[in-house]
Amino acid sequence: MSLRLFVNELNGNRVEGELIKTIIYSLMTSFVILAILYLSSLKYINNFIPKYGLFLFLAALSYALILPSVRQVRAYKEFACMPGMMIGMTIGMISGFLPGYFIGATNGMFYGSIFGMAVGILLGILNGKSCGIMGFMEGIMAGFMGGIMGAMTAVMMINDNLKLAGIILFIISSVILIGLNYMIYKETKENERQLKEDHTFTIFATLILISITTWLMILGPRSVLFQ
């Protein structure tokens, strides 16, 4: 069964064998940055952990789950139309929705939407283009929709179970992203790997994403309701 093969491949020599390492590199990068920021300045912010702790933690986990998919797509470079569109849509949607939700929960709908759309569209395009213009377009549309939806969901849950909803949405997104990893594996089982790279991209992308997220959440502009 190919699912079992996929699980075995997580310990193998193909790019799938590097996915878990990518998660760990990304998590380590995020937590080191957050720890440095916390010890140097964030701990002096009133109610920092109850207000922002869980959302920053979930943001770090989200980037650690999105970036392995990006690495897997980069490794094979080109895909047929349908898998390419699915890649653009899934990565665009999830990488727009989750950051949009976390920023929406602390800064309001406008800033959450803008940030979610920016991350979603950027990653949607970068990955969707693996199948040409169709995936490119799919990436833009999914990133745009995911960013707005994430922020809107957060703002509408502000006096409801905002934190619990964040955890549930993160778990669902994780399952979708792991499903995408499996789909890419199935589609590329017979293909040769096109790009072999170290973890510089993962570390750099995590550094940028978590730094902007933290800055926006703590010091960034806020909508009227959040001032």
Binding site: V7, L10, N11, G17, L19, I20, K21, I23, I24, L27, N47, I49, P50, K51, G53, L54, F57, L58, L61, V155, M156, M157, I158, N159, D160, K163, L164, I167, V224, L225, F226
Partner: protein
């Protein structure tokens, strides 16, 4: 040679999936810790209506992303008038109390909703989308 064989037998590299298992445990522990940390400033804030010329008046503002105060106590049978001050933004100005048939967009701080609380109990007031909400206690 014997040393190499011994090293290979004793230091078997951990599988990626095993490492992931350990990481997941740490993540779950961290998540539980952060999830259970509550924001002390988000507790309920109680306010009583001010009776004036046989009308109980109350003005709601916004604090911690919700109506302030978010628990109001009023007396049964005496008309209640609720205003929203200028700090209340956007769709929070669309004010509803379902049990008393109240649903009105209070565009300015001078606009109000008025009703007679004719039954005792605890009722919910909210914006029309349910994002901002509070309790109305009729005694």
């Amino acid at each position: 040679m014997a040393h190499d064989t011994w090293a290979k037998e004793c230091f078997v590299p951990m599988k990626n999936t095993t490492i992931l298992g350990f990481v997941l445990l740490i993540i779950i522990a961290g998540g539980v810790f952060l999830f259970t940390k509550n924001d002390a400033s988000s507790d309920d804030i109680t306010g009583n209506a001010i009776a004036n010329n046989e009308i109980q008046k109350i003005t709601l503002g916004i604090k911690n992303y919700n109506y302030y105060p978010n628990t109001i106590t009023v007396k049964e049978g005496i008309p209640v008038r609720i205003y929203l001050d200028k700090s209340v933004p956007g769709c929070y100005r669309s004010f509803t109390i379902r049990e008393f048939g109240i649903s009105k967009n209070l565009r300015t701080p001078e606009d109000y909703v008025e009703f007679i609380p004719d039954k005792k109990g605890t009722f919910t007031f909210a914006c029309s989308m349910g994002m901002g909400r509070g309790k109305l206690i009729v005694e």
